[in-house]
């Protein structure tokens, strides 16, 4: 079974080739069938891999499948291969599972689009690249997937490329990602310089011996990889591309810019956890950036009026949570939140897509309202998604978010906990603001409301499946504090991922930050219950405030926001980050370009170099060309004289 692993990425690749090469001639039904079917098959195979891995003893659950020798130069040799372990298979399950649902949804959402074949081809290519990313057994192969998903992201953001704004958004995403990729490359170079290899297993085996814990090398490797992760996962300060990425079709936003690709950064940090544990300072930076991003993005999410942009900022905020989790060395918690977030954020985006579909491509929340009666399935599933992300038990978001917050507290980072705690309240508030504005109250655009209609089953079915997953998804990671009283319910995810992180436990114990011991203490248990209750309270508070301001008494909202107008303005301008980049990066760059063009190119190169060099060559050529008499006899004479000279040289030498 495990030897079939290469088929998992290859199936979507095959789908991409079929649709990409022959898509123009295929019917819409076959395009969708190829696109969704290939990912569905890959999902089934991944489940098979999961089962096969589960059948192995816990300590043998790390299997490398060699594919071929990729590069071989001197002593350097790099094999391309797949690494199957609980972590990579978990990621592959999310990618293919959620991906499959979104492919199915796309068949309905993009039904009318003339570029359907292109859409599915890109989507399949993306799935292929993402699977390469998560299944790779070395940094270079991971980087191939990393760049592949970046390319697909660019292609899909600018999918409707005839609109300049879409093409610009695609370019912005690509360029901002390049900044992170550059750091990622540097990180890889540094790993190679320090450890002499780039394949995961030897790197992680050698790292504790070769790298001094807390030393400069480990710090820079970890930091550079993290900068790469901030680019891909839209963390401060490289977050600016993700909101603009919402110009792409909504299924793309759901799959790439919420559920899978943007979590690649989290995956990389978790995959490299051995290196991060050797660099506590870098780990702290990860946690701080994560927490800062969480609250920063959540606050911006409060005032967005575009339904997809609210979700985009929410995604950035939730990614911040994941980084906060891994930053306090709670890698399982980070992956846990990654998984649950994939469920409910995909659900929310697809729900938003359903709304947009119903409203004929209207995305402005201020023109919606009262859609609950028209879109019963969408509104119900969206409500479930909102509850899940807000952190209401027993839905998925509660368990994963709370585990992160608790890990932050238990790891001694109370300040970070507080930031995450407040962000959780903001999350609950903006999500329910979105739900109320879209589905409740009175229709603000009667015309659009009148024409609104529920989406076809091909779109609502994935919504329902994802809604179910958003409810039950959290039950795979019930914390011990709750699991024990409920009758020894085990923390399945932690158990499953344990072999991956067991070496990490050793390192962590060495660093004196043993979380397991701390959690075992009785006093801490009470604390955990208390913090849990506090999380639920603040979520309810956020929901209550949203209910009050957006459902019960919109008049009060007007009065309240009038006093906060300056703050509101700052939030609406997204803290002026885009403007700062424009002033600090774009303007100097344009000035430099203008200088290079007007002075260096026009005056120096065209005016001086070209004229002088060109003139010299022309003048010289005019002289030399006289040798070419055009008379064959002259040429023959030259040949003969040359032959005689050479003959003389050889004979008389």
């Amino acid at each position: 079974m495990l030897r079939l692993a290469p088929l998992v990425p290859l199936l979507p690749l095959l789908g991409f080739l079929l649709n990409g090469l022959f898509g123009r001639r295929l019917s819409r039904g076959s395009i969708a069938a190829i696109g969704a079917g290939s990912v569905g098959l890959a999902f089934a195979l991944t489940i098979g891999l999961f089962a096969a891995l589960l059948a192995l003893p816990a300590h043998d659950r790390s299997v490398e499948v060699d594919l071929f020798t990729w590069m071989s130069a001197g002593d350097f040799r790099l094999d391309a291969g797949l690494l199957l372990d609980p972590l990579s298979v978990t990621m592959a399950l999310v990618v293919t599972g959620v991906g499959f649902l979104i492919h199915v949804y796309s068949a309905g959402y993009m039904r009318e689009d003339p570029g359907l074949w292109r859409f599915f081809a890109y989507l399949n290519l993306f799935t292929f690249a993402m699977l390469v990313l998560v299944l790779a057994d070395s940094y270079p192969l991971l980087f191939v997937g990393w760049e592949g998903v970046g390319l697909c992201s660019y292609l899909l953001i600018g999918f409707w490329y005839t609109e300049k704004i879409n093409a610009d958004a695609g370019k912005k995403a690509f360029i901002v990602n390049r900044v992170g990729d550059f750091a990622f490359l540097l990180g890889m170079f540094l790993i190679f310089r320090e450890l002499g290899t780039l394949e995961f297993t030897p790197v992680f085996e050698a790292a504790p011996r070769a790298l001094e814990a807390g030393g400069a090398a480990a710090f820079w490797i970890a930091l550079l990889l993290f900068v790469g992760a901030t680019g891909k996962s839209a963390q401060l300060p490289l977050h600016i591309w993700l909101p603009d990425a919402m110009q792409g079709p909504t299924p793309v936003s759901a799959l790439i810019h919420a559920a899978t690709m943007v979590t690649a950064g989290v995956y990389v940090v978790v995959r490299s956890h051995v290196l991060y544990l050797l660099a506590p300072d870098a780990l702290l930076i990860v946690a701080v950036v994560g927490a800062a991003t969480a609250i920063f993005a959540a606050s911006i999410g409060l005032v967005q009026t575009d339904i997809k942009r609210v979700l985009a900022w929410s995604t950035i905020s939730q990614l911040g949570y994941m980084f906060l989790g891994v930053g306090v060395a709670a890698f399982t918690a980070g992956i846990f939140h990654l998984v649950t977030h994939a469920f409910f954020k995909a659900l929310l985006f697809l729900g938003a897509g359903s709304v947009i579909h119903a409203m004929h491509h209207e995305q402005d929340l201020r023109r919606m309202g009262g859609l609950r009666s028209k879109l019963p399935v969408t509104s119900l599933t969206m409500l479930i998604g909102a509850l899940a992300i807000a952190g209401i038990p027993p839905l998925a978001g509660f368990f994963s978010k709370d585990e992160i917050l608790w890990s932050a507290w238990a790891g001694g980072r109370q300040a970070l906990w507080a930031i995450g705690f407040i962000a959780a309240g903001l999350t609950a508030f903006y999500m329910f603001r979105l739900v109320y504005l879209a589905f409740y109250g009175t229709p603000r655009d009667a015309e659009a409301h009148h024409h609104a209609h529920e989406s076809p089953p091909v779109m609502t079915l994935p919504l329902v499946v994802l809604a179910v997953l958003s409810v039950v998804g959290g039950w795979i990671g019930i914390p011990h504090a709750l699991g024990e009283p409920l009758g020894h319910v085990p923390n399945l995810l932690e158990h499953w991922l344990e072999p991956v992180f067991e070496d990490a436990e050793v390192l962590r114990a060495g660093a004196g930050e043993g979380m397991a011991e701390r959690m075992a203490e009785a006093g801490e248990l009470a604390m955990e219950y208390g913090l849990m209750a506090a999380s639920i309270m603040i979520a309810l508070l956020g929901i209550g405030l949203a209910t009050l301001l957006y459902l019960r008494d919109p008049g009060r909202r007007e009065r309240l926001t009038a006093g906060l107008a300056p703050l509101r303005h700052v939030l609406e301008r997204k803290y002026y980050v885009d403007e700062i980049y424009h002033a600090v990066v774009v303007m100097p760059y344009l000035a430099l370009s203008a200088f290079l063009w007007r002075v260096v190119d026009v005056v120096l190169i065209d005016g001086f170099v070209v004229r002088v060099v060109g003139g010299a060559v022309t003048w010289y050529s005019r002289i030399v060309s006289r040798l070419q008499t055009g008379l064959v006899q002259n040429y023959a004479t030259a040949v003969f004289v040359g032959a005689v000279v050479m003959l003389g040289w050889f004979l008389l030498r």
Binding site: S625, T629, Q633, A636
Partner: protein, 100 residues
């Protein structure tokens, strides 16, 4: 008995006469005749060497050279005819389209 070197020296002299003809004459026909002299000079040395070494390959090569000379003459003269038809002259000094 004539030594081999005399034959070879004669061959060298004849060859050089041919070369000088090719290099200096501007009449295409005479250039061709000079080439025939060169071919024959080489033939002479081949036959002489055959006699000296006792290996018949040299004579067979001369046989082939004569054949090639026939082919060359046919094609070359056709070219001369074509040249003449185009320019009304066989003066190769007048054919200088390659001039720089």
């Amino acid at each position: 008995m004539v030594p081999l070197s005399h034959y070879l020296a004669l061959s060298a002299v004849l060859f050089t006469i041919g070369v000088l003809g090719v290099l200096t004459r501007r009449n295409a026909i005479l250039v061709f005749l000079s080439i025939e002299i060169m071919l024959n000079a080489v033939n002479l040395s081949l036959v002489a060497l055959t006699r000296a070494t006792g290996n018949l390959d040299g004579q067979v090569t001369v046989f082939f050279v004569i054949t090639v000379a026939a082919a060359e003459a046919a094609v070359g003269l056709a070219i001369v005819v074509a040249m003449f038809r185009r320019r009304e002259t066989v003066d190769i000094g007048r054919f200088d389209v390659l001039r720089g």
